[in-house]
Protein backbone atom coordinates (compact mmCIF):
# COMPACT_ATOMS: atom_id res chain seq x y z
CA UNK A 1 0.00 0.00 0.00
CA UNK A 2 1.92 3.01 1.22
CA UNK A 3 5.39 1.52 1.32
CA UNK A 4 5.04 0.16 -2.16
CA UNK A 5 5.26 3.73 -3.31
CA UNK A 6 7.29 6.71 -2.26
CA UNK A 7 5.86 9.16 0.26
CA UNK A 8 5.42 12.70 -1.08
CA UNK A 9 6.44 15.99 0.55
CA UNK A 10 4.52 16.94 3.68
CA UNK A 11 3.49 13.40 4.59
CA UNK A 12 5.23 13.54 7.96
CA UNK A 13 6.07 16.78 9.76
CA UNK A 14 9.34 18.70 9.11
CA UNK A 15 10.97 17.63 12.39
CA UNK A 16 10.54 13.94 11.52
CA UNK A 17 11.81 14.57 8.00
CA UNK A 18 14.98 16.18 9.38
CA UNK A 19 15.61 13.52 12.05
CA UNK A 20 15.07 10.59 9.65
CA UNK A 21 17.20 12.44 7.09
CA UNK A 22 20.11 12.65 9.52
CA UNK A 23 19.76 8.97 10.51
CA UNK A 24 19.69 7.94 6.85
CA UNK A 25 22.73 10.08 5.99
CA UNK A 26 24.77 8.60 8.83
CA UNK A 27 23.84 4.98 8.02
CA UNK A 28 24.40 5.37 4.26
CA UNK A 29 27.73 7.10 4.88
CA UNK A 30 28.73 4.23 7.15
CA UNK A 31 27.62 1.67 4.53
CA UNK A 32 29.53 3.53 1.80
CA UNK A 33 32.75 3.42 3.81
CA UNK A 34 32.26 -0.22 4.67
CA UNK A 35 31.53 -1.33 1.12
CA UNK A 36 34.50 0.57 -0.27
CA UNK A 37 36.70 -1.70 1.83
CA UNK A 38 34.65 -4.72 0.87
CA UNK A 39 34.46 -4.34 -2.87
CA UNK A 40 37.25 -2.04 -4.03
CA UNK A 41 36.86 -0.64 -7.56
CA UNK A 42 34.72 -3.59 -8.63
CA UNK A 43 31.90 -1.98 -6.66
CA UNK A 44 31.07 0.63 -9.25
CA UNK A 45 29.93 -1.42 -12.27
CA UNK A 46 28.67 -4.33 -10.16
CA UNK A 47 26.64 -2.25 -7.72
CA UNK A 48 25.43 -0.08 -10.60
CA UNK A 49 24.12 -2.97 -12.66
CA UNK A 50 22.56 -4.68 -9.65
CA UNK A 51 20.94 -1.35 -8.68
CA UNK A 52 19.42 -1.32 -12.15
CA UNK A 53 18.22 -4.87 -11.45
CA UNK A 54 16.50 -3.80 -8.20
CA UNK A 55 15.01 -0.75 -9.95
CA UNK A 56 13.67 -3.02 -12.69
CA UNK A 57 12.45 -5.59 -10.16
CA UNK A 58 10.39 -2.88 -8.46
CA UNK A 59 8.63 -2.26 -11.78
CA UNK A 60 8.14 -5.97 -12.37
CA UNK A 61 4.70 -7.05 -11.23
CA UNK A 62 3.95 -10.47 -9.87
CA UNK A 63 0.47 -11.92 -9.52
CA UNK A 64 -1.20 -11.83 -6.11
CA UNK A 65 -4.65 -13.13 -6.88
CA UNK A 66 -6.99 -13.09 -9.86
CA UNK A 67 -5.54 -10.22 -11.83
CA UNK A 68 -4.26 -8.04 -8.98
CA UNK A 69 -0.51 -7.62 -8.83
CA UNK A 70 2.09 -6.50 -6.35
CA UNK A 71 5.70 -5.64 -6.85
CA UNK A 72 8.95 -6.42 -5.13
CA UNK A 73 10.55 -3.91 -2.76
CA UNK A 74 13.81 -5.83 -2.97
CA UNK A 75 15.58 -4.53 0.14
CA UNK A 76 16.02 -7.89 1.85
CA UNK A 77 16.75 -9.60 -1.47
CA UNK A 78 19.51 -7.10 -2.25
CA UNK A 79 21.06 -7.49 1.22
CA UNK A 80 21.02 -11.30 1.07
CA UNK A 81 22.51 -11.38 -2.44
CA UNK A 82 25.07 -8.57 -1.97
CA UNK A 83 25.58 -8.21 1.77
CA UNK A 84 23.92 -5.60 4.00
CA UNK A 85 26.17 -2.62 3.31
CA UNK A 86 26.21 -2.95 -0.49
CA UNK A 87 22.51 -3.84 -0.32
CA UNK A 88 21.73 -0.63 1.58
CA UNK A 89 23.71 1.47 -0.91
CA UNK A 90 22.11 -0.14 -3.93
CA UNK A 91 18.53 0.31 -2.69
CA UNK A 92 19.28 3.83 -1.38
CA UNK A 93 20.53 4.81 -4.82
CA UNK A 94 17.36 3.42 -6.37
CA UNK A 95 15.18 5.47 -3.97
CA UNK A 96 17.24 8.68 -4.34
CA UNK A 97 17.39 8.49 -8.14
CA UNK A 98 13.66 7.81 -8.27
CA UNK A 99 13.09 11.05 -6.34
CA UNK A 100 15.66 13.21 -8.15
CA UNK A 101 15.48 11.94 -11.70
CA UNK A 102 11.99 10.46 -11.94
CA UNK A 103 10.03 12.83 -9.63
CA UNK A 104 8.88 9.76 -7.66
CA UNK A 105 8.72 10.60 -3.94
CA UNK A 106 9.17 14.01 -2.32
CA UNK A 107 12.58 15.68 -1.97
CA UNK A 108 11.92 16.55 1.67
CA UNK A 109 10.55 13.02 2.22
CA UNK A 110 13.86 11.43 1.19
CA UNK A 111 14.91 10.97 4.83
CA UNK A 112 12.06 8.66 5.74
CA UNK A 113 11.75 7.13 2.29
CA UNK A 114 15.40 6.01 2.36
CA UNK A 115 15.06 4.82 5.96
CA UNK A 116 11.85 2.86 5.35
CA UNK A 117 12.48 1.54 1.86
CA UNK A 118 16.24 0.95 1.85
CA UNK A 119 17.92 0.88 5.25
CA UNK A 120 15.34 -0.95 7.35
CA UNK A 121 14.43 -3.64 4.78
CA UNK A 122 18.08 -4.27 3.86
CA UNK A 123 19.72 -4.21 7.31
CA UNK A 124 16.73 -5.54 9.24
CA UNK A 125 15.99 -8.22 6.65
CA UNK A 126 19.62 -9.33 6.67
CA UNK A 127 19.60 -9.54 10.48
CA UNK A 128 16.55 -11.82 10.46
CA UNK A 129 18.17 -13.86 7.68
CA UNK A 130 21.36 -14.36 9.68
CA UNK A 131 19.51 -15.33 12.85
CA UNK A 132 17.37 -17.84 10.96
CA UNK A 133 20.37 -19.34 9.18
CA UNK A 134 21.52 -20.57 12.61
CA UNK A 135 18.22 -22.32 13.21
CA UNK A 136 17.54 -23.70 9.73
CA UNK A 137 19.57 -26.57 8.24
CA UNK A 138 22.93 -25.64 6.71
CA UNK A 139 21.95 -26.26 3.08
CA UNK A 140 20.19 -24.62 0.14
CA UNK A 141 16.81 -25.27 1.72
CA UNK A 142 17.86 -23.43 4.87
CA UNK A 143 19.08 -20.43 2.87
CA UNK A 144 15.91 -20.28 0.81
CA UNK A 145 13.66 -20.65 3.86
CA UNK A 146 15.55 -17.98 5.78
CA UNK A 147 15.30 -15.67 2.77
CA UNK A 148 11.54 -16.10 2.58
CA UNK A 149 10.93 -15.30 6.25
CA UNK A 150 13.51 -12.46 6.24
CA UNK A 151 11.97 -10.81 3.17
CA UNK A 152 8.50 -11.03 4.75
CA UNK A 153 9.86 -9.61 8.01
CA UNK A 154 11.64 -6.79 6.14
CA UNK A 155 8.32 -5.53 4.78
CA UNK A 156 6.65 -5.80 8.20
CA UNK A 157 9.57 -3.98 9.87
CA UNK A 158 9.31 -1.15 7.33
CA UNK A 159 5.59 -0.85 8.11
CA UNK A 160 6.34 -0.79 11.85
CA UNK A 161 8.97 1.89 11.29
CA UNK A 162 6.51 4.00 9.34
CA UNK A 163 3.90 3.69 12.12
CA UNK A 164 6.43 4.78 14.73
CA UNK A 165 7.48 7.75 12.61
CA UNK A 166 3.78 8.59 12.41
CA UNK A 167 3.72 8.61 16.23
CA UNK A 168 6.27 11.44 16.17
CA UNK A 169 5.43 13.19 12.92
CA UNK A 170 1.76 12.66 12.16
CA UNK A 171 0.35 15.29 9.84
CA UNK A 172 -3.26 14.37 10.66
CA UNK A 173 -5.04 13.13 13.79
CA UNK A 174 -5.15 9.47 12.85
CA UNK A 175 -4.33 7.58 16.06
CA UNK A 176 -1.24 5.39 16.28
CA UNK A 177 -3.43 2.33 16.94
CA UNK A 178 -5.23 2.77 13.62
CA UNK A 179 -2.07 3.44 11.62
CA UNK A 180 -0.12 0.65 13.29
CA UNK A 181 -2.93 -1.87 12.94
CA UNK A 182 -3.72 -1.16 9.33
CA UNK A 183 -0.15 -0.56 8.10
CA UNK A 184 1.37 -3.59 9.79
CA UNK A 185 -1.67 -5.77 9.14
CA UNK A 186 -1.78 -4.96 5.43
CA UNK A 187 1.97 -5.34 5.04
CA UNK A 188 1.98 -8.67 6.85
CA UNK A 189 -0.15 -9.83 3.91
CA UNK A 190 1.76 -7.95 1.19
CA UNK A 191 4.98 -9.32 2.65
CA UNK A 192 3.92 -12.88 1.80
CA UNK A 193 4.46 -12.09 -1.88
CA UNK A 194 7.79 -10.42 -1.13
CA UNK A 195 8.86 -13.46 0.88
CA UNK A 196 7.86 -16.07 -1.72
CA UNK A 197 9.36 -14.17 -4.67
CA UNK A 198 12.61 -13.36 -2.81
CA UNK A 199 13.01 -16.95 -1.60
CA UNK A 200 12.42 -18.44 -5.05
CA UNK A 201 14.70 -15.85 -6.67
CA UNK A 202 17.53 -16.69 -4.27
CA UNK A 203 16.83 -20.36 -4.98
CA UNK A 204 17.23 -19.73 -8.70
CA UNK A 205 20.55 -17.93 -8.13
CA UNK A 206 21.76 -20.74 -5.84
CA UNK A 207 20.97 -23.26 -8.56
CA UNK A 208 23.15 -21.57 -11.18
CA UNK A 209 25.73 -19.33 -9.45
CA UNK A 210 25.75 -20.14 -5.71
CA UNK A 211 28.97 -18.13 -5.35
CA UNK A 212 26.98 -14.93 -6.01
CA UNK A 213 24.78 -15.30 -2.91
CA UNK A 214 26.51 -13.33 -0.14
CA UNK A 215 24.26 -14.89 2.50
CA UNK A 216 25.34 -18.42 1.50
CA UNK A 217 29.09 -17.82 1.32
CA UNK A 218 29.74 -20.12 4.27
CA UNK A 219 28.30 -23.14 2.44
CA UNK A 220 30.21 -25.19 -0.11
CA UNK A 221 28.74 -26.87 -3.16
CA UNK A 222 28.17 -30.26 -1.55
CA UNK A 223 26.18 -28.68 1.28
CA UNK A 224 24.17 -26.66 -1.21
CA UNK A 225 23.35 -29.71 -3.29
CA UNK A 226 22.41 -31.73 -0.23
CA UNK A 227 18.74 -31.13 0.36
CA UNK A 228 15.84 -30.17 -1.81
CA UNK A 229 13.42 -27.66 -0.39
CA UNK A 230 10.03 -28.65 0.84
CA UNK A 231 8.70 -25.52 -0.85
CA UNK A 232 5.06 -26.38 -0.60
CA UNK A 233 5.02 -27.13 3.12
CA UNK A 234 7.17 -24.11 3.82
CA UNK A 235 4.98 -21.74 1.80
CA UNK A 236 1.78 -23.01 3.37
CA UNK A 237 3.24 -22.75 6.89
CA UNK A 238 4.61 -19.27 6.22
CA UNK A 239 1.34 -18.00 4.78
CA UNK A 240 -0.57 -19.32 7.80
CA UNK A 241 1.77 -17.61 10.26
CA UNK A 242 1.56 -14.35 8.33
CA UNK A 243 -2.25 -14.53 8.24
CA UNK A 244 -2.47 -15.07 12.00
CA UNK A 245 -0.03 -12.21 12.58
CA UNK A 246 -2.00 -9.88 10.30
CA UNK A 247 -5.26 -10.80 11.99
CA UNK A 248 -3.91 -10.14 15.48
CA UNK A 249 -2.22 -6.86 14.57
CA UNK A 250 -5.16 -5.41 12.68
CA UNK A 251 -7.23 -5.69 15.88
CA UNK A 252 -5.50 -2.45 16.87
CA UNK A 253 -7.15 -0.68 14.01
CA UNK A 254 -10.67 -1.58 15.04
CA UNK A 255 -10.67 -2.18 18.77
CA UNK A 256 -11.81 1.20 19.87
CA UNK A 257 -14.49 3.05 17.88
CA UNK A 258 -15.76 4.79 21.02
CA UNK A 259 -12.49 6.57 21.57
CA UNK A 260 -13.16 8.74 18.53
CA UNK A 261 -16.53 9.83 19.89
CA UNK A 262 -15.05 10.60 23.28
CA UNK A 263 -12.38 12.88 21.87
CA UNK A 264 -14.93 14.66 19.71
CA UNK A 265 -16.26 16.19 22.93
CA UNK A 266 -12.81 17.12 24.12
CA UNK A 267 -12.77 20.49 22.41
CA UNK A 268 -9.54 21.62 24.00
CA UNK A 269 -7.68 19.31 21.64
CA UNK A 270 -8.97 21.00 18.51
CA UNK A 271 -7.14 24.24 19.17
CA UNK A 272 -3.81 22.44 19.14
CA UNK A 273 -3.07 24.10 15.80
CA UNK A 274 -2.79 27.41 17.60
CA UNK A 275 0.38 26.97 19.58
CA UNK A 276 3.61 26.47 17.71
CA UNK A 277 6.05 25.71 20.44
CA UNK A 278 9.16 23.85 19.35
CA UNK A 279 7.93 20.66 20.97
CA UNK A 280 4.81 20.63 18.84
CA UNK A 281 6.86 21.39 15.78
CA UNK A 282 9.01 18.31 16.22
CA UNK A 283 6.66 15.87 17.91
CA UNK A 284 3.08 16.00 16.78
CA UNK A 285 0.70 14.82 19.47
CA UNK A 286 -1.79 13.68 16.86
CA UNK A 287 -0.84 10.07 16.87
CA UNK A 288 -1.86 9.47 20.46
CA UNK A 289 -5.01 11.55 20.22
CA UNK A 290 -8.14 9.45 20.38
CA UNK A 291 -6.33 6.42 21.72
CA UNK A 292 -8.10 5.12 24.80
CA UNK A 293 -5.07 3.40 26.26
CA UNK A 294 -2.21 5.73 25.46
CA UNK A 295 0.26 3.92 27.70
CA UNK A 296 -0.32 0.60 25.94
CA UNK A 297 0.21 2.15 22.49
CA UNK A 298 3.39 3.83 23.60
CA UNK A 299 4.62 0.61 25.15
CA UNK A 300 3.96 -1.30 21.94
CA UNK A 301 5.62 1.44 19.89
CA UNK A 302 8.59 1.43 22.22
CA UNK A 303 9.03 -2.34 22.25
CA UNK A 304 8.65 -2.97 18.53
CA UNK A 305 10.71 0.15 17.76
CA UNK A 306 13.55 -1.12 19.92
CA UNK A 307 13.39 -4.57 18.33
CA UNK A 308 13.50 -3.12 14.80
CA UNK A 309 16.36 -0.77 15.72
CA UNK A 310 18.38 -3.58 17.32
CA UNK A 311 17.85 -5.80 14.28
CA UNK A 312 18.90 -3.02 11.88
CA UNK A 313 22.03 -2.37 13.94
CA UNK A 314 22.76 -6.09 14.10
CA UNK A 315 22.41 -6.36 10.31
CA UNK A 316 24.78 -3.44 9.76
CA UNK A 317 27.48 -4.76 12.06
CA UNK A 318 27.07 -8.40 11.04
CA UNK A 319 27.91 -7.36 7.51
CA UNK A 320 31.02 -5.56 8.69
CA UNK A 321 32.28 -8.53 10.74
CA UNK A 322 31.78 -10.90 7.84
CA UNK A 323 33.45 -8.68 5.30
CA UNK A 324 36.49 -8.24 7.52
CA UNK A 325 36.81 -11.96 8.07
CA UNK A 326 36.60 -13.12 4.47
CA UNK A 327 38.18 -12.61 1.13
CA UNK A 328 36.63 -9.45 -0.27
CA UNK A 329 37.17 -10.56 -3.86
CA UNK A 330 34.70 -13.39 -3.49
CA UNK A 331 31.75 -11.03 -3.42
Amino acid sequence: MILGMHAPDGFLNPGTAVVTGIISLVVVGFALRQSREQLKDKAIPLAGVTAAFIFAAQMFNFPVAAGTTGHLLGGALAAILLGPSVGIIVVTIVVVVQALAFADGGLTALGYNVLNMAIIPAAGGFAVFRLLRRVFPQNAGGVIGSTGVAAWASVVMAAIAFSIQWLFGASAPVPFDTVFGSMVGVHALIGIGEGIISALAVGAVLASRPDLVYGARDLDRTQLAEAKVGTRAFVIGGVLVALVFAAVVSQFAVDNPDGLERVAEDTGFIDSGEDHSLADFIFADYATAGVSNEALSLAIAGIVGTIVTLLVAYGLFAGMRESRGRDPASV
Binding site: P8, G106, A172, V174, A264
Partner: protein, 254 residues
Amino acid sequence: MGSGHGHALYVHEHSFIHRMAPQAKLLAAIGMVASVAITPREALWAFGIYAVAVAGLFVASRVRLRYLFVRLLAVAPFVLFAFFIPFIASGEKVELGPFNVSVEGLWGAWNILIKATLGASVSILLTSTTEIPDIFRGLAALRIPALFISIATFMIRYLELIIDELGRMRIAMTSRGYDPRWIAQARPIATSAGAMFVRSYERGERVHSAMLSRGFTGEMPIFKQTEPTPAQWAVVSMFVATFVAIATTALVVT
Protein backbone atom coordinates in the same frame (compact mmCIF):
# COMPACT_ATOMS: atom_id res chain seq x y z
CA MET B 1 9.22 5.31 -18.66
CA GLY B 2 9.34 4.22 -22.25
CA SER B 3 10.83 7.32 -23.81
CA GLY B 4 14.22 6.21 -25.02
CA HIS B 5 17.56 7.26 -23.83
CA GLY B 6 17.64 7.41 -20.09
CA HIS B 7 16.11 10.86 -19.78
CA ALA B 8 12.69 9.52 -19.07
CA LEU B 9 10.94 12.70 -18.01
CA TYR B 10 13.06 15.22 -19.89
CA VAL B 11 11.19 17.55 -22.23
CA HIS B 12 13.42 19.06 -24.88
CA GLU B 13 12.89 22.81 -24.93
CA HIS B 14 14.92 25.99 -24.91
CA SER B 15 14.45 28.14 -21.84
CA PHE B 16 16.59 29.77 -19.20
CA ILE B 17 15.55 26.99 -16.81
CA HIS B 18 16.81 24.33 -19.23
CA ARG B 19 20.10 26.17 -19.61
CA MET B 20 20.62 26.78 -15.90
CA ALA B 21 23.53 24.94 -14.23
CA PRO B 22 22.16 21.78 -12.59
CA GLN B 23 23.59 22.42 -9.12
CA ALA B 24 21.78 25.77 -9.02
CA LYS B 25 18.56 24.09 -10.11
CA LEU B 26 18.93 21.35 -7.49
CA LEU B 27 19.52 23.87 -4.71
CA ALA B 28 16.55 25.93 -5.87
CA ALA B 29 14.28 22.88 -5.96
CA ILE B 30 15.35 21.73 -2.49
CA GLY B 31 15.00 25.25 -1.05
CA MET B 32 11.54 25.70 -2.52
CA VAL B 33 10.24 22.29 -1.46
CA ALA B 34 11.66 22.65 2.06
CA SER B 35 9.94 26.06 2.41
CA VAL B 36 6.64 24.51 1.32
CA ALA B 37 7.12 21.63 3.77
CA ILE B 38 7.59 23.88 6.83
CA THR B 39 4.72 26.24 5.97
CA PRO B 40 1.82 25.78 8.41
CA ARG B 41 -1.22 24.41 6.66
CA GLU B 42 -3.49 27.23 7.87
CA ALA B 43 -1.56 29.79 5.80
CA LEU B 44 -3.72 29.42 2.70
CA TRP B 45 -2.37 32.64 1.20
CA ALA B 46 1.20 31.25 1.30
CA PHE B 47 0.24 28.16 -0.68
CA GLY B 48 -1.55 30.43 -3.17
CA ILE B 49 1.68 32.36 -3.76
CA TYR B 50 3.72 29.14 -4.03
CA ALA B 51 1.29 27.73 -6.59
CA VAL B 52 1.42 30.91 -8.69
CA ALA B 53 5.24 30.96 -8.53
CA VAL B 54 5.57 27.29 -9.54
CA ALA B 55 3.05 27.73 -12.35
CA GLY B 56 5.02 30.78 -13.49
CA LEU B 57 8.21 28.73 -13.60
CA PHE B 58 6.43 26.10 -15.70
CA VAL B 59 5.30 28.74 -18.17
CA ALA B 60 8.85 30.11 -18.29
CA SER B 61 10.25 26.60 -18.88
CA ARG B 62 7.89 26.14 -21.88
CA VAL B 63 7.01 22.68 -20.59
CA ARG B 64 3.31 22.30 -21.25
CA LEU B 65 1.07 22.35 -18.16
CA ARG B 66 -0.76 19.33 -19.53
CA TYR B 67 2.49 17.39 -19.11
CA LEU B 68 2.61 18.51 -15.47
CA PHE B 69 -0.91 17.25 -14.82
CA VAL B 70 -0.22 13.86 -16.42
CA ARG B 71 2.92 13.48 -14.31
CA LEU B 72 1.13 14.57 -11.14
CA LEU B 73 -1.07 11.49 -11.46
CA ALA B 74 1.93 9.59 -10.09
CA VAL B 75 1.13 10.94 -6.62
CA ALA B 76 -2.53 9.96 -7.02
CA PRO B 77 -2.32 6.96 -4.62
CA PHE B 78 -1.40 9.34 -1.83
CA VAL B 79 -4.23 11.62 -2.80
CA LEU B 80 -6.45 8.62 -2.29
CA PHE B 81 -4.96 8.04 1.17
CA ALA B 82 -5.40 11.72 2.06
CA PHE B 83 -9.01 11.44 0.93
CA PHE B 84 -9.64 8.82 3.63
CA ILE B 85 -8.12 10.83 6.49
CA PRO B 86 -11.18 13.01 7.28
CA PHE B 87 -13.23 9.84 7.71
CA ILE B 88 -10.88 7.94 10.00
CA ALA B 89 -9.44 10.87 11.95
CA SER B 90 -10.59 11.91 15.40
CA GLY B 91 -11.64 15.35 16.66
CA GLU B 92 -14.57 17.68 16.13
CA LYS B 93 -16.95 16.60 13.37
CA VAL B 94 -18.67 18.67 10.72
CA GLU B 95 -21.42 17.81 8.27
CA LEU B 96 -20.09 17.75 4.73
CA GLY B 97 -22.94 16.81 2.45
CA PRO B 98 -24.11 13.39 3.55
CA PHE B 99 -20.89 12.70 5.50
CA ASN B 100 -19.81 13.41 9.03
CA VAL B 101 -16.09 14.18 8.82
CA SER B 102 -13.37 15.31 11.20
CA VAL B 103 -12.27 18.97 11.02
CA GLU B 104 -8.71 18.13 12.01
CA GLY B 105 -8.77 15.32 9.47
CA LEU B 106 -9.81 17.74 6.73
CA TRP B 107 -6.87 19.98 7.66
CA GLY B 108 -4.55 16.98 7.64
CA ALA B 109 -5.79 15.91 4.24
CA TRP B 110 -5.39 19.45 2.87
CA ASN B 111 -1.87 19.60 4.32
CA ILE B 112 -0.77 16.39 2.56
CA LEU B 113 -2.57 17.24 -0.68
CA ILE B 114 -1.16 20.74 -1.14
CA LYS B 115 2.38 19.94 -0.02
CA ALA B 116 2.53 16.73 -2.06
CA THR B 117 1.21 18.52 -5.15
CA LEU B 118 3.57 21.49 -4.86
CA GLY B 119 6.55 19.27 -4.02
CA ALA B 120 5.85 16.91 -6.89
CA SER B 121 5.38 19.88 -9.25
CA VAL B 122 8.81 21.24 -8.35
CA SER B 123 10.34 17.75 -8.79
CA ILE B 124 8.63 17.40 -12.16
CA LEU B 125 9.90 20.83 -13.21
CA LEU B 126 13.42 19.76 -12.23
CA THR B 127 13.29 16.45 -14.09
CA SER B 128 11.59 17.82 -17.18
CA THR B 129 14.20 20.56 -17.64
CA THR B 130 17.33 18.62 -16.62
CA GLU B 131 18.76 15.57 -18.35
CA ILE B 132 19.73 12.77 -15.95
CA PRO B 133 23.53 13.04 -16.56
CA ASP B 134 23.22 16.74 -15.72
CA ILE B 135 21.44 15.91 -12.46
CA PHE B 136 24.43 13.72 -11.54
CA ARG B 137 26.83 16.52 -12.52
CA GLY B 138 24.86 18.82 -10.25
CA LEU B 139 25.07 16.32 -7.40
CA ALA B 140 28.82 15.98 -7.93
CA ALA B 141 29.17 19.77 -7.77
CA LEU B 142 27.22 19.65 -4.49
CA ARG B 143 29.88 17.27 -3.05
CA ILE B 144 27.83 14.09 -3.01
CA PRO B 145 30.38 11.20 -2.65
CA ALA B 146 31.81 10.14 -6.01
CA LEU B 147 31.19 6.44 -5.30
CA PHE B 148 27.48 7.12 -4.86
CA ILE B 149 27.25 9.11 -8.10
CA SER B 150 29.27 6.59 -10.10
CA ILE B 151 27.00 3.72 -9.03
CA ALA B 152 23.90 5.80 -9.79
CA THR B 153 25.28 6.67 -13.25
CA PHE B 154 25.85 2.99 -14.01
CA MET B 155 22.38 2.19 -12.78
CA ILE B 156 20.78 4.65 -15.19
CA ARG B 157 22.99 3.47 -18.04
CA TYR B 158 21.90 -0.16 -17.69
CA LEU B 159 18.36 0.39 -16.46
CA GLU B 160 16.53 0.32 -19.79
CA LEU B 161 18.60 -2.60 -21.00
CA ILE B 162 17.58 -4.64 -17.96
CA ILE B 163 13.94 -3.56 -18.09
CA ASP B 164 13.85 -4.59 -21.76
CA GLU B 165 15.44 -7.93 -20.91
CA LEU B 166 12.81 -8.58 -18.22
CA GLY B 167 10.13 -7.59 -20.71
CA ARG B 168 11.49 -10.07 -23.25
CA MET B 169 11.42 -12.83 -20.62
CA ARG B 170 7.80 -11.92 -19.91
CA ILE B 171 6.89 -12.02 -23.60
CA ALA B 172 8.67 -15.36 -24.00
CA MET B 173 6.59 -16.69 -21.12
CA THR B 174 3.22 -15.42 -22.33
CA SER B 175 3.90 -16.40 -25.94
CA ARG B 176 4.27 -19.95 -24.68
CA GLY B 177 0.82 -19.73 -23.17
CA TYR B 178 1.73 -19.12 -19.51
CA ASP B 179 0.00 -16.20 -17.84
CA PRO B 180 0.21 -16.63 -14.05
CA ARG B 181 -2.63 -15.06 -12.08
CA TRP B 182 -2.11 -16.38 -8.54
CA ILE B 183 0.75 -16.15 -6.10
CA ALA B 184 1.00 -19.95 -6.05
CA GLN B 185 2.09 -19.70 -9.69
CA ALA B 186 4.86 -17.26 -8.83
CA ARG B 187 7.75 -19.66 -9.32
CA PRO B 188 8.45 -18.85 -13.00
CA ILE B 189 8.39 -15.10 -12.26
CA ALA B 190 10.72 -15.49 -9.29
CA THR B 191 12.98 -17.78 -11.25
CA SER B 192 13.26 -15.22 -14.02
CA ALA B 193 14.05 -12.57 -11.38
CA GLY B 194 16.82 -14.86 -10.10
CA ALA B 195 18.10 -15.50 -13.61
CA MET B 196 17.97 -11.77 -14.24
CA PHE B 197 20.10 -11.13 -11.17
CA VAL B 198 22.74 -13.60 -12.38
CA ARG B 199 22.71 -12.00 -15.84
CA SER B 200 22.96 -8.49 -14.35
CA TYR B 201 25.80 -9.50 -12.05
CA GLU B 202 27.71 -11.21 -14.85
CA ARG B 203 27.14 -8.18 -17.05
CA GLY B 204 28.59 -6.07 -14.25
CA GLU B 205 31.66 -8.32 -14.13
CA ARG B 206 32.08 -8.13 -17.94
CA VAL B 207 31.73 -4.35 -17.84
CA HIS B 208 34.29 -4.19 -15.05
CA SER B 209 36.88 -6.22 -16.97
CA ALA B 210 36.17 -4.20 -20.12
CA MET B 211 36.83 -1.06 -18.08
CA LEU B 212 40.03 -2.52 -16.64
CA SER B 213 41.26 -3.33 -20.14
CA ARG B 214 40.65 0.31 -21.07
CA GLY B 215 42.76 1.56 -18.18
CA PHE B 216 40.22 1.93 -15.35
CA THR B 217 42.10 2.62 -12.12
CA GLY B 218 39.19 2.57 -9.68
CA GLU B 219 38.42 6.27 -10.01
CA MET B 220 35.73 7.46 -12.37
CA PRO B 221 36.72 10.35 -14.64
CA ILE B 222 35.74 13.76 -13.24
CA PHE B 223 32.59 15.21 -14.74
CA LYS B 224 32.86 18.32 -16.85
CA GLN B 225 31.41 20.96 -14.55
CA THR B 226 29.41 23.95 -15.66
CA GLU B 227 29.56 26.76 -13.14
CA PRO B 228 26.33 28.71 -12.68
CA THR B 229 26.52 32.26 -14.06
CA PRO B 230 25.99 35.17 -11.65
CA ALA B 231 22.62 35.80 -13.30
CA GLN B 232 21.58 32.22 -12.59
CA TRP B 233 22.65 32.51 -8.95
CA ALA B 234 20.67 35.75 -8.75
CA VAL B 235 17.49 34.09 -10.05
CA VAL B 236 17.93 31.07 -7.77
CA SER B 237 18.62 33.13 -4.65
CA MET B 238 15.68 35.39 -5.44
CA PHE B 239 13.30 32.44 -5.71
CA VAL B 240 14.60 30.59 -2.66
CA ALA B 241 14.69 33.80 -0.60
CA THR B 242 11.09 34.57 -1.56
CA PHE B 243 9.93 31.07 -0.62
CA VAL B 244 11.81 31.13 2.68
CA ALA B 245 10.42 34.60 3.45
CA ILE B 246 6.87 33.42 2.78
CA ALA B 247 7.38 30.32 4.93
CA THR B 248 8.85 32.39 7.78
CA THR B 249 6.04 34.94 7.59
CA ALA B 250 3.49 32.15 7.59
CA LEU B 251 5.14 30.52 10.62
CA VAL B 252 5.12 33.82 12.51
CA VAL B 253 1.61 34.90 11.54
CA THR B 254 -0.26 31.64 12.21
